[in-house]
Amino acid sequence: MASRVSFDCDLVTDFESPADEDGVHDSFSQLIQEQCHGLHDVIEMSSFDLEEESRDDVEYLEAPDYQRSDSDALQQTDHLIGERWSSDTLKVLSSMPSRTIGRSRGAIISQYCNRTMQLRRRKQSRPSIQHFPRSARPSIRGYRVETDGAGFEEEENKRERLVNNLQNLSVNDRVRMLRAMPLSLAEKKELRMLVLNKAEHSVSQNQIPCCSQLKYYIIIALRHGWYGWLSFLSSLQLWQTALKCVGGRFGTGVLSYFVFLRTLLFFNVFLFLVTGLLLVVPQAIMHPDPDQNVSVSSTWGLEVLTGAGYFSHSVLYYGYYSNKMLQTGCSASRNGTSCTSGLSYNMPLVYFFTIGAAFFVTCIILVYSMSKSFGQSFRIDKSKGLLAIKVFGSWDFKVIKKSSVRLQRANIGTQLKELVAEVNRQKQKFPVLQRLFRLFIHMLAWIMCLGSTLACVLAVYYFSEYMHRDLHMRAHAGSSDPLLKEASLLAVPVVVSSFNLLLPGFFNAVAWMEEYDSPSVLNYVSISRNLLLKVSVLGVLCYYWLGRVASEPHLLRLECWESFVGQELYRFLLMDFIFMLLDTFFGEFLWRLFSQKALKRKRKPVFDIARNVLELIYGQTLAWLGVLFSPLLPAVQIIKLILLFYMKKVSLKMNCQASGKPWRASQMTTIFITLLCFPAFLGAAVCVTYTMWTMQPSQRCGPFQGLKTMFQAGKLWVQELAAVNPDLHWLASAHAYLVENPLFLFLSAGIFLIVIYFHSQVVDGQRKIIELLQEQIENEGEDKKFLITRLQDIHERKRGRTPRRVQGASEDSSYS
């Protein structure tokens, strides 16, 4: 076009990758400067056609006025920009590639044509380095280039090509492309029909041999099956309307708590199905070993609460499970059981592998959901752009109820005001004394919290020791009131649960005293304090169970320490639930009355999301710890979660209202899933692994009686297999060298760590590239500004008009 526009020669045009652009960035402002200085000479516009410009109905655009003061260069361009833009410029502007996106069908079709082409190419082969376009502006080439100035035939051609490309994609990719296209549904359906017709047509025409046709029909049938399965799954959508209600009234933050509850429920259902089908059902069908002493207490005491008594010799606990092969077709006779041939079921082995496999699958699901959630919520957290994001991205479309909408409006208004005030206000330098004072307050608060946590932990430790001695005495004393004995079992759970209930309130009070400025910092601090408390309490309890009870079961006259630990966990779970009930009905209800009547606050209290989620995580940790000792514990947890859901929903409606503070839902969800995975699941898995690996099981009960460790069950089985079938000798030696040898485990752990390190380096590199690309985008913007002003200037020169200043009133332009 314009022929003799001279560009500065330090505009380098050859680049291998965006990373090389480092050197050029400084030169843009210089470039603009130099071009502005050289305005009055050089430029000639020989081939620039201005004839089509109309004289009278020129549309003008009120130019933007910049407040940027970074360089004089920009101010000089301002001088140009403060002009009227001619229709020519406007025409060029309006057909710029970036402006035509989403505007017309033609542009969309072209864009997706390119995308499908790229997808096909990517799927077929990896592009080599040479294919990357060598240009200083990789954003101009690439997929958003098509303009919509194309004629009708070209659009038809593009459509043809799009249909071709779609047809050549795999079915999944095609569906994904179709769904992601921003066309109207009618057009998408038409495209799809064309693609399918074409596919059928080609199928019938090419006379594909019948096995390929068969494969084609199988794929179609599988697809139908998959859709049917998805429909079935979606019809099982648990609590869909309830969640919609809650979301409609309270917003995304509170909704995330209930969604988290539902996720935990699914984990427990999975655990329950696995252990139920593989462990409970076979054992329940087979009779227990006749040589086990079953002492059933005749009176119903506090069984449901303590899980002991009548329940202690039931399918609920570890002690019930047999350590032999279960055989169908066994008949118990006077002399012992005589078994004819039937199905044999190796109980110890199945027990061991079931628990192991359940944990493994749970681990994989957790890690997958954590990484997915992390990927969605992670963004390069720049501090700029907050206001725009707040305006466009903060309205929660799920909120339906009128009062909540009003509240949301008020919230957003407040947040916008704060942001604007922050922008306007100078960065306040607090006097040193005040800063020191605040630091002192924070340190004091932390000392108080950590101190109270420590005190709590010590209290639990000494109290459990005391109860241990107490039980020891009772066990040796013989006759004592059974009811009191059972009630004393509940002492430690009650104490722990009450600490769990009261201390977070104390932490909240301390945080209120500290007066945090930003609500997100407050959230993180309170989550970390609560987490510390729960982790330490659980740590002490695990030490007590595994270190004291399990290692010296004779002290408590326990035949079956695993059953006892299972019962303890059952009690803890139940007490946790009861205390949550009490907290919800009395705590929230009474607090609302108190705050409305005594404190005379207009608004109801706010639902404390973080605290409730941590409670859920704590309960789930207990369930995971207990699966080994009590295979039916997931069922208890399922019942507890279902009841909790309805209870919290009712309490929410009665006592709470939507929060006034912003809650970054996706970040918080990521944090909760991470907390579920890392301290909670990992801790439980470590405990269970430790138990299975090193602790000696009870001699006289359970599936692992007589073995040195539970782990030996697998080893013995392998050895048996090798003994029976000499060909499988390699399996035994593989087991001995690989699974038992710690060196192998260290090596594999080391390899994993190295792989993780590499991946983290890749992510770092990608982050750097993203930052560079952001800078590039901004520089592109500068380029555009520059080119537009040059264009305008060229036009002005041609017309020979002198530049005029901006008019007063702002006139909008609307160019089609």
């Binding site: 130019a63 933007p64 910049y66 407040q67 970036s98 402006r99 989403g102 179709l178 769904r179 992601a180 921003p182 109207s184 549904l185 998408k188 359906k189 799809r192 859709y227 049917g228 079935f232 979606s234 019809s235 919609k244 979301g247 995304t252 969605q376 992670f378 963004r379 390069i380 720049k382 700029k384 907050l386 206001l387 725009a388 994001i389 305006v391 466009f392 991205g393 903060s394 309205w395 479309f397 799920k398 339906i400 909408v405 409006r409 008020a410 957003i412 208004g413 407040t414 916008l416 005001k417 604007v420 839902a665 996706s666 970040q667 985008i777 913007g781 555009k784 500004k785 537009i788 909008d812």
Partner: protein, 187 residues
């Protein structure tokens, strides 16, 4: 599965499943909702693809949209004629884009259309002012509104034309991790 429905043919349902983020059951449920908005207009039998459109006034009475300040713009953005008269296809399209599974880019495109009040493919200052007024009604003073608009445009505008084109909008929205969860309506 078991019961034979006569509202859509199987091919139609397959087409809906392939082109939207809904399953068969959800499409049928959506048809139920569509029908109850205007029972006299919407036929129960869609096997012939009848050309029926429900006007804007009836659609914004849906409980999911009734209190939403952007309800008019939402419905207009998904209508073919731009005035808010939705056919069933448009109706399904609207809730599909606003569902949980729609990808970010798709949502960004339609969010841009929604906030573009004068439909000129840019979000100019007036559009932004209207958005703010709908967001906060009477919370902000006119000076504050003006300040917020200017600041927002300054932050997000990359090519310096004092308006937000789609590229600017998308770039800005990509920094908002909550966008996916807030731009979501459950149906």
């Amino acid at each position: 599965m078991g019961n034979k429905q006569t509202i859509f043919t199987d091919e139609q349902l397959d087409a809906y499943q392939d082109c939207t983020f809904f399953t068969r059951k959800e499409i049928l449920r959506l048809h139920g909702r569509y029908h109850e908005l205007a029972p006299h207009l919407v036929p129960m039998d869609y096997t012939n693809d009848p050309d029926v459109k429900i006007p804007l006034a009836l659609i914004v009475n849906m409980p999911e949209l009734k209190e939403n300040p952007f309800r008019d713009r939402i419905v207009e953005s998904f209508s073919e004629d731009g005035h808010g008269n939705l056919s069933f296809n448009d109706f399904v399209d609207m809730f599909s884009v606003l569902s949980e599974m729609a990808p970010r880019e798709l949502k960004a495109i339609y969010a841009f259309k929604i906030y573009d009040f004068n439909v000129d493919n840019y979000i100019c200052k007036e559009d932004l002012e209207k958005t703010l007024n709908k967001l906060t009604k009477e919370e902000l003073t006119p000076e504050e509104v003006n300040l917020v608009c200017e600041k927002a445009i300054e932050e997000a505008d990359l090519d310096g034309d004092n308006k937000l084109s789609f590229a600017d909008f998308e770039n800005m929205i990509s920094r908002a991790p909550d966008f996916l969860s807030t731009f979501h309506i459950r149906i």
